[in-house]
């Protein structure tokens, strides 16, 4: 076991992927010599060469479009989108081409492309550097959408994503890049939790708290605070946003009877809405309260001096937990 930052764990995972598969490539803006603006690809170009770790021109549609071409040729590109708010120029290639090619080709074509996107706020950034666009991709058939929350998971999930024959949109919580956790870099990938499975981070009996990416840490802290007040919160890290691991979610909610979903993205038409609908369908008679959602507001992401009010925090999560007990 080694204590690694989330950024370093991704770096180690990518290194492993490049070693394991000669067809794996890394491409993006500043991923080579600089090692990425968050240093996730630090040192990889030096060790694997410019043909496999490619500094691209500055155009996101071009990054994804050429990655599709490389995948058609048999490669496994891992694209880095530098910031969440810069993915939109690539959305056409992702939604209209990457997601649909297997379907269009009746299974003749696989596009094993990974698109890494640093996401979320909390770093005091200027506009377009703090967004949570995951639901755009979760709404698109043909994509797998995942979010890592800590270093240990990041290390295995990025390797699983590269191995996956479907396109994977891989969200990385940028305000957690420098958080350290124990990582077993020697562990075999085969025994790891599957990429599409949720993980019970903390057992509990009174209410189920669902989170992913940057909100997992907030949720664990909220559970610790609630415990002192005698309330037992079960925290589940969704990990996979599409597909959703409804079996794990429903099993928990059927036990607790209460559920709160939290994410940084706006609540309206967010992932929480889909989860609430599905829980209602699957657990209706066992629910003690409606599923509540805690997330961003129906505003654009605010200037950073306001983000502490925009981002769901421990108090807002616990406020929602309290409200589920008021029914």
């Amino acid at each position: 076991m080694t204590k690694l930052t989330l950024s370093r764990a991704l770096n180690e995972g990518l290194r492993r992927a490049l070693e394991d598969n000669p067809k794996a490539l890394i491409m993006g803006e500043d991923v080579g010599r600089l090692g990425g603006v968050f240093r996730v690809t630090d040192g990889l170009q030096k060790d694997f060469g410019e043909a496999r770790v490619i500094d691209t021109p500055l155009a996101e549609s071009g990054i994804v479009g050429t990655a599709i071409g490389l995948a058609l040729r048999g490669y496994r590109p891992v694209c880095e989108i530098q910031f969440d708010g810069f993915v939109y120029p690539a959305v056409d290639q992702i939604v209209s081409q990457l997601a649909k090619m297997r379907y269009r080709s009746r299974g003749n074509i696989a596009l094993p492309v990974v698109i890494r996107i640093p996401c979320g706020g909390g770093i005091g950034a200027v506009e377009h550097h703090s967004e949570s666009p995951e639901v755009i991709f979760a709404h698109t058939a043909g994509l797998r959408v995942v979010a890592c929350s800590d270093a240990a998971d990041a290390f295995t999930m990025i390797q699983q994503a590269v191995r996956c024959d479907d396109p994977v949109i891989f969200f990385e919580p940028k305000r957690r890049y420098w958080d350290k956790t124990e990582v077993d870099t020697a562990a075999a990938l085969d025994g790891a939790l599957p990429l599409d499975a949720a993980r019970v981070v903390l057992g509990g009996s009174d209410v189920t708290l669902l989170a992913y990416g940057p909100m997992v840490k907030v949720s664990v802290a909220a559970a610790a605070a609630a415990r002192q007040e005698g309330r037992s919160i079960e925290v589940i890290d969704l990990r996979s946003l599409s597909p959703l691991d409804m079996a794990t979610i429903a099993a928990s909610v059927k036990r607790t009877g209460r559920c709160v979903v939290t994410h940084e993205a706006p609540v309206f038409a967010g992932l929480g809405a889909e989860i609430a609908a599905r829980i209602t369908e699957e657990c209706f008679y066992l629910l003690q309260a409606p599923v509540l959602r805690v997330g961003g507001f129906s505003t654009p992401y605010p200037p950073s001096r306001l983000e502490e009010h925009y981002l769901p925090n421990l108090d807002r999560v616990l406020d929602a937990v309290d409200r589920t007990f008021a029914y």
Binding site: L72, R73, D196
Partner: protein, 389 residues
């Protein structure tokens, strides 16, 4: 705008509209008569294929058709220049190139009939699926070419591989096409950009896309651009051959602007009389891509009446085969709509498939002759569920 006129000076032409051979110092072409006759056969057969497809749409057998009428030489000339190991990235109008790659025309009809989004194996044919979003495929082509570089399959003479990306004049305004030019240029990728400038992007004339001739755009990106008479099958063959060979040998991309004309509507749903003059069409009819080859073959004595009659008979057979095959094409099974979304199991989708299968099965108990599932009652496609209750 004057800048778009295809003056003789900057237009590569090896066969005039009157059917006279011309030489070009940069593009010498020695073709045996048999090969020119084979090109003529291609031209006639793809035009017949296209004509049949328009008719099938009019008869309700196809939902829509994008006609290649007028662009046969650009497609057959370039298409016959492509080597067996090369890869093609087409738009949705490259029926002539598909023909050259051996894609069964019936597969193309299926796409426009609505039985599939693309029914051929791109790797097997060296011909990618049709791309409908304008310009997207130019990036795929460039990425594929970067893969050829990584495979060491460039610059190796006979074994070299290259890519050709097709697009139209309208697509040159797209960001993706410009990004593809940049990528291909800075990575020196083995890709040929083949732009069929057919003068119209549905109703928008070329002047709405560019102030300068399109081939000159290449200079700004740092690679050669060449304008060829797109209605001259020999010139298109020679120019494309040279550009592909340059790409295979590691000399990087070329932009070819095939100067041609869309003789038909954009698609069968379009009405060009609303935006262009009939006189323009008449002018271009005089430059017809097939007539000039016929005139050359007849005048040179390379082909006689029986040759032309035989080709016509073959075209008739092709037409009959296509009509029959199109009408016989079955609708896909309802549950096939869930197939091939993901490589690995997907619990949400799998649950939807199971639910829909159970829903369809519920009609098995319905009274004989009563309303059934989708499609058994006119206009009931979406209301089938209600009908069964």
């Amino acid at each position: 705008m004057q800048g778009h006129d295809a003056g003789a000076a900057d237009l590569v032409q090896l066969l005039t509209p009157e059917g006279e051979r011309r030489d070009h110092p940069d593009y010498p072409l020695e073709l045996p008569a048999d090969e020119i006759k084979a090109l003529y056969r291609d031209l006639v057969l793809v035009r017949r294929f296209d004509t049949e497809a328009v008719a099938l749409q009019r008869h309700g057998e196809l939902g829509i058709w994008a006609s290649l009428l007028g662009q046969e030489a650009a497609q057959i000339g370039s298409g016959r220049a492509i080597g067996p190991r090369d890869m093609v990235f087409p738009t949705y109008r490259e029926h002539g190139v598909a023909w050259c790659r051996g894609v069964d025309p019936v597969r193309l009809l299926g796409l426009f009939r609505g039985t599939s989004h693309g029914g051929w194996d791109p790797a097997e044919r060296g011909f990618h699926l049709y791309t409908i979003v304008i310009g997207s495929q130019t990036l795929h082509a460039t990425g594929y070419a970067m893969g050829i570089q990584r495979d060491g399959a460039v610059g190796s003479g006979e074994d070299g591989e290259a890519v050709i990306a097709y697009f139209g004049d309208g697509a040159t305004s797209q960001g993706d096409v410009n990004e593809a030019f940049i990528w291909a240029s800075v990575f020196n990728a083995p890709v040929v950009f083949f732009c069929q400038n057919n003068q119209w992007a549905i109703s928008e004339p070329l002047e709405r896309q560019s102030r300068i001739p399109l081939y000159r755009r290449a200079a700004g990106f740092g690679f050669p651009g060449i304008r060829v008479d797109g209605n001259d099958v020999l010139a298109c063959l020679a120019v494309t051959r040279k550009a592909l060979q340059a790409a295979r040998e590691g000399q990087g991309p070329t932009l070819i602007e095939a100067y041609t004309y869309r003789m038909g509507a954009h698609t069968t749903t379009d009405d060009p009389t609303r935006y262009r003059l009939a006189s323009e069409l008449e002018t271009w009819k005089l430059k017809d891509p097939i007539e000039r080859v016929k005139a050359y073959l007849a005048r040179s004595g390379a082909a006689d009446t029986s040759f032309f009659n035989d080709i016509e008979a073959e075209a008739d057979q092709l037409g009959a085969r296509l009509r029959e095959a199109c009408r016989a094409m079955p609708d896909p099974e309802p549950l096939s709509l869930f197939d091939n979304v993901y490589a690995d199991p997907h619990p949400i989708l799998d649950a939807e498939r199971a639910q829909f299968a159970a829903y369809l099965d519920s009609f098995d108990d319905a009274e004989p002759g009563g309303p059934g599932p989708a499609g058994t009652r006119p206009g009931a496609e979406l209301a089938g569920g209600e009908a069964g209750r």
